[in-house]
């Protein structure tokens, strides 16, 4: 009867998410979804900007597009992992990718904790973010 329960408005309260996406429409869409569920959201328009941000402010979770001009999502997670191996805190990193863009095996090997295929269900996205932020 009626709608399925979606997400409580406070699901992501107290969780800081960094969204890395070169497409401004998609970036604002992800920001809006996560803020709707209560998250603190920072955004970066590319992998290099995201890495600079992570050197100054460590988010609880990173959500990154894979295919981006210049440095891509694989480059970003490689750099984040190198810093973790050097002693930095681990940041769970979730990939968002177009259909057929990146093989699941390659994403797993790169160290993404989860891969979401576009089009993304907003509530599934929020639950995945919550799950990995809590596990951290």
């Amino acid at each position: 009867m009626g709608r399925e329960p979606t997400v409580p408005g406070d699901l992501l309260v107290g969780i800081h998410v960094l969204v890395v996406e070169d497409n401004p429409d998609a970036r604002e869409l992800f920001r809006t979804i996560l803020e709707y569920a209560g998250a603190l959201v920072s955004v970066a328009s590319g992998a290099e900007q995201a890495l600079r941000m992570c050197e100054q402010i460590l988010p609880d979770v990173v959500l990154t597009d894979i295919a981006m001009p210049e440095r891509d999502g694989f480059w970003l997670i490689g750099e984040l992992r190198a810093r973790q191996e050097a002693g930095a805190r681990r940041i769970p990193t979730i990939a968002v990718t177009g259909q057929g863009m990146a093989s699941p095996a390659r994403c797993d090997a790169a160290g993404f904790v989860e891969v979401l295929r576009k089009p993304v269900d907003p509530w599934a996205l929020c639950r995945v973010v919550e799950d990995h932020a809590r596990r951290r």
Binding site: V13, G14, L40, M53, E55, I57
Partner: protein
């Protein structure tokens, strides 16, 4: 700070934020606002001093790029002011690791080494303004 406190830990706290990097400044401003603060953000020490001539913030958050940069001069100028003009205002510095002792010697009340945690920043401002 507990998760559920995040949204109102800084309610009613007027925070002056000084950071010359616009991307980084936006991120810090969003964090402080998320925690409930009312934030005025500026890029330079001169702009900060001009805000301090008009209003009295509850706390100053200042980004340090290197030892002895403009943030040092700003804090020194602030500490030279009368208490009623903000001379004793809590100051939180944010910047490279290894400067905590120096930052305190220059008059900062707390110093957070990068990379910082959003909740750690809110906690530091909250504790100093309670």
């Amino acid at each position: 700070m507990e998760r559920e406190d995040a949204g109102h830990a800084l309610r009613g706290v007027y925070t002056l934020l000084v950071d010359d990097n616009p991307v980084h400044r936006d991120a810090l401003r969003d964090i402080l606002r998320y925690c409930g603060a009312w934030v005025r953000d500026v890029a330079t020490g001169d702009e900060a001093l001009s805000v301090l001539r008009e209003t009295t913030p509850s706390a100053l958050v200042v980004v340090v790029r290197f030892p002895g940069d403009a943030s040092w001069a700003l804090v020194r100028a602030l500490r030279a002011m009368r208490p009623e003009h903000g001379g004793k205002m809590p100051v939180v510095g944010v910047g490279p690791a290894g400067l905590a002792v120096e930052a305190r010697a220059y008059g900062m009340d707390a110093y957070l080494a990068e990379p910082i945690d959003a909740w750690g920043l809110c906690r530091a401002v909250s504790e100093l303004t309670e």
